[in-house]
Amino acid sequence: MGVMNTPLRRDRQDLLRAGLGHALNLGLPLLFVVIPILSFVVVSFWTLQDGQILLIPTLANYRAFFTEGSYLSVYLQTVGLSLQVTLVNVALSTAIALFIFRRTPRMRFLILMSFMLPLFMSYIIKVYSIRSILGQRGLLNEAMLGLGLIDQPIEALLFSRTAIFIALAVLYLPYAILPIYLALDRIPANYLAACADLGATPLQALRDVVLPLARPGIAAGAVFTFILTFGDFVTPQMVGGTQGFTFGRIVFSQFGLALNWPLGSALAVILLATTLLAVALAGLSLRREHVR
């Protein structure tokens, strides 16, 4: 075997193998991830005429976002809604993560798992279940009627902005709990012992040591929540009805009923830019902390 493999030949084989490795490992992601993303960005500059996509470059799709219909106002409303969910969920998740963190190590795992378990329940079933809980004749209204808390079913519970808010907050809560808890878990135990030895009250330790150290986790949880809620188009459709027209729904409808791929792509580029901005802002807020 060694006789036939002259150094030159082995070099060529190695070169060939390395080339194949690069081709597979860089080529596949390029083909299935980067090119599709580039292609929808390209489509956003094309023209739609009489239902046909023409390869004429135009900025009309982007202009439509700013000038036509209600795209811009729906966009701003959706950003507002997602920010609201993010703020509430991060606050709740920080409290929940702290609660888990303050248990004994044995209990921590169990409690964390019970907060993560709902993630494994079918997403679509959860949305539907939330819808049936919030409905006008839903479980929540019936329960409150039964308890005598209200005389009339509250109509605004379902098919409203509130309904979307509640559904998104419930669906995406675990995504914020996990990163915040993991950040807390990384704090060395002797830091906390030092706090206590130096006379800090639990609240002081929390404010001056624990929460600042948990900031990367809090930022990650905020970014996850924002990205997921901003891009979700099924939840608003199922619990929001005609009231809940969010930006994600508008984008999706351009690829379904409305069938305007160039406009849909342009709106999707704006959606993507918004999420990238959110990531950048979170990163920036962390970096500034380092400098200080």
């Binding site: 963190f101 303050r102 679509i124 279940s129 675990p174 791929w261 999707a268």
Partner: protein, 265 residues
């Protein structure tokens, strides 16, 4: 922090308790309604007595069962494909030049970091460009793209923990590269591979937002359920959801225990 602080603990406990109620309400409602159906007698709401009718009806609902089997096929094929790719990417990352490895890693992670709606529509447009009709193949490709990062991440963490000394020892002792992979590296990676694949399977099985873009007439369970729920609701869905949840809960706990066992080693 570990000092006693009863007020703080009570407050945090209250939030955590409310959080658990909110998270489990949809699950419990679904489970309860699968055994006790809601009946309406002259406008007033009541529960029918315990029955397993929805579970029996489920066995006869061909539409749901067909979608369920499609989902199982898609999740199995795509998580196994993701496993092979993730292994390849992980080995590439630890062996290739740093810059190339990082470039690969960014590309691999992208679909998981971007909103699913972006991944879905970009694949839809790409499939259209190459004239690939929507069907099982497009669903599987989309799922692989989405779940490879999960498996890759678990495998890479384990691989980097291993370090290079085991590989070097094996090669020094005269094992070939293939033998080293087969008898030294893969057995060490096994816990990571299993938990990664199970997680990928679960994600693929439930994937909804990307699949909506790339599915054709033969579609997965979440999409079929979504379509069914728009016209009305059948009690079988509650039964099915309860069964699926119990299965996934069991698998999740298995993954969790396995990862904890892996950490202890």
């Amino acid at each position: 922090m570990k000092q006693k602080a009863p007020c703080l603990d009570a407050l945090l406990g209250l939030v955590a308790g409310l959080g658990l109620i909110a998270l489990y309400a949809p699950l419990l409602a679904t489970g309860a309604l699968s055994f006790f159906q809601i009946v309406r007698v002259r406008g007033t709401l009541g529960f029918a007595p315990f029955s397993l009718d929805p579970y029996v009806a489920l066995l006869a609902n061909g539409e749901i069962l067909a979608a369920l089997s499609t989902s199982l096929v898609v999740a199995t094929v795509s998580s196994l494909l993701a496993l092979v790719l993730a292994l390849m990417f992980a080995f590439y990352f630890v062996s290739a030049r740093r810059g190339l490895g990082i470039a690969m890693q960014i590309m691999v992670f992208l679909p998981f970091l971007l909103p699913p709606i972006i991944t879905g529509l970009s694949l839809l447009i790409a499939f259209r460009e190459i004239d690939l009709g929507r069907g099982l193949v497009t669903i599987i490709i989309a799922h692989v793209v989405f779940i490879v990062p999960v498996v890759y991440r678990t495998v890479l963490v384990r691989l980097q923990l291993l370090g290079s000394s085991l590989t070097e020892a094996s090669l020094d002792l005269g094992a070939s590269r293939v033998q080293t992979l087969r008898y030294v590296i893969l057995p060490q990676l096994r816990p990571a591979l299993i938990s990664g694949v199970l997680l990928a399977f679960a994600i693929s099985f439930d994937e909804t937002l990307i699949t909506l873009f790339v599915a054709g007439s033969q579609t997965t369970l979440p999409i079929r359920l979504w379509a069914m729920m728009r016209v009305g609701f059948v009690p079988e869905i509650n039964a099915l959801a309860t069964l699926i949840f119990l299965c996934t809960a069991a698998i999740t706990f298995a993954i969790g225990l396995m990862q904890r066992a892996g950490e202890r080693v």
